[in-house]
Amino acid sequence: MNEKTEKLIDKKGIRLDGRKADELRPVKLQVGVLSNADGSAYVEHGKNKILAAAFGPREMHPKHLAQPDRMVLRCRYHMAPFSVPERKSPAPSRREVELSKVIKESLEPALFLELYPRTGVDVFIEVLQADGGTRCASITAAALALADAGVPMKDLVVACAAGKVEDKVVLDLFDAEDKLGAADVPVAYMPNLNAVTLLQMDGILTPDEFEKAIDMAMDGCKKIYELQKEALKTKYMVIKEVEE
């Protein structure tokens, strides 16, 4: 994979996986896939395959973590040992602990935490197959799982990344572009409230490129948001059709 001879973007502006600069990978979303969880979602974002399950609000265990004035959101981002080409140890790595925190903080602004004090909501995110941009796809899935669990939300949270590859700003990096490219900017966004809940940058960008990357990522988010709404509605539409 580390052959620098291969160009990440060819002369026509087509990327390694055949996409244009501002094109998303195909996204498939499904809600209510796990019967044992209160809410759940499954996401296929390009080659990423991610499951998210939400539980609660329920009594917080261990009890000392409960907050007297608000609900506590806990997230666990975990990559399955078989999710990457080289076996990943199933123990939570430094990266996974950090991503769990980052995902938690990007979802919190969407919840009414003050409504149910002393309780906890748990979101478990399992990456079954990874191909770059798993944190974004995880946020998209986790928001759907929370909505499916019936947890009141201000808005659904969507996430999408943009970055710089071969001196060009492109949308939705996949694994090879992420590793060989110059920069990666993941953005989580609440489209109806027009609020950004996560913004990270890894690499070097000029201020102009940075702004272009954010705009591009936000446009990508809006496209995924439409799919998110549709996925949530589809669960109940199916029931309606069966009767008619």
Binding site: F112, K154, L156, N192, K229
Partner: protein, 238 residues
């Protein structure tokens, strides 16, 4: 002052519902003069109030609610009750015994043991304290027979029907006693197991099809098919 929905439209969290002179009702919230949905559900408005009937939610205790719970633990001077909500409820020994409770005389697990089911009323509840239950009213207390079923709490009003029409029809046709716990637990007690099964089938159908119209007719039909000898008086409760 526009609204952005049609009656009974399916909405998702974050969808803008109205702008201007409207009030946020159930499962909605207001921000900067606009009203948004906070759960997936069907929108409706009466006068200036915009409501979303949620398709999935959890039970939030309210004072005066009749609920059905399971004894989770026998404590020193009461029981902790699982009410299928974000909080566990407390039932005090003195409330059940209706006299002062003396630990040396009374064995609590002989009265109610872990796993027992009770019908109870929420006596008190606020943000800072777990709900307290009471069984000191007729019709409340330990459940000794019948069948239990679980539904999403938001579907209970649909099962009751307008002015209780739906539930009284099922009760009448199946000759069952039905207690609807507002926490989504339902107790069906009938003279025979077949009667109970029929009532459960009918309630299951209401739960699955609650967001569609013409449901009463379909339930009437179902009950008539399964039990033709029973007389179905429509709209008995007016």
């Amino acid at each position: 002052m526009p609204t952005f929905f049609e009656k009974k439209q399916l909405v998702t969290p974050g969808e803008m519902l109205a702008e201007g002179d409207y009030l946020p009702g159930e499962n909605t919230y207001a921000e900067a003069g606009k009203i948004y949905a906070s759960r997936i559900g069907l929108v409706d408005s009466d006068n200036k109030k915009v409501n979303v009937v949620a398709l999935k939610a959890f039970y939030v205790p309210k004072m005066g609610d009749i609920i059905i719970g399971t004894v989770a633990e026998v404590g020193f001077n009461g029981w902790t009750i699982n009410i299928k909500g974000p909080y566990t409820a407390l039932l005090r020994a003195s409330d059940v015994l209706s006299r002062p409770f003396k630990p040396q005389n009374d064995e609590l697990s002989a009265v109610l043991n872990a796993g027992d089911l009770i019908v109870a009323k929420i006596a008190s509840y606020d943000r800072a304290h777990d709900p307290q239950l009471t069984v000191g009213e007729p019709g409340l207390g330990k459940i000794t027979r019948g069948q239990i079923m679980y539904v999403t709490p938001t579907k209970i009003p649909r099962i009751i029907g307008r002015k209780g029409s739906m539930i009284s029809m099922i009760k009448q046709v199946t000759d069952c006693q039905i207690i609807l716990g507002l926490n989504g637990v339902i107790l069906v007690t009938g003279k025979s197991e077949e009667d109970e099964e029929l009532a459960i089938t009918a309630i299951r159908k209401i739960e699955a099809e609650s967001h569609t119209s013409g449901l009463t007719d379909r339930i009437t039909q179902l009950l008539k098919e399964k039990k033709p000898e029973a007389k179905v008086e429509e709209n008995k409760v007016e």
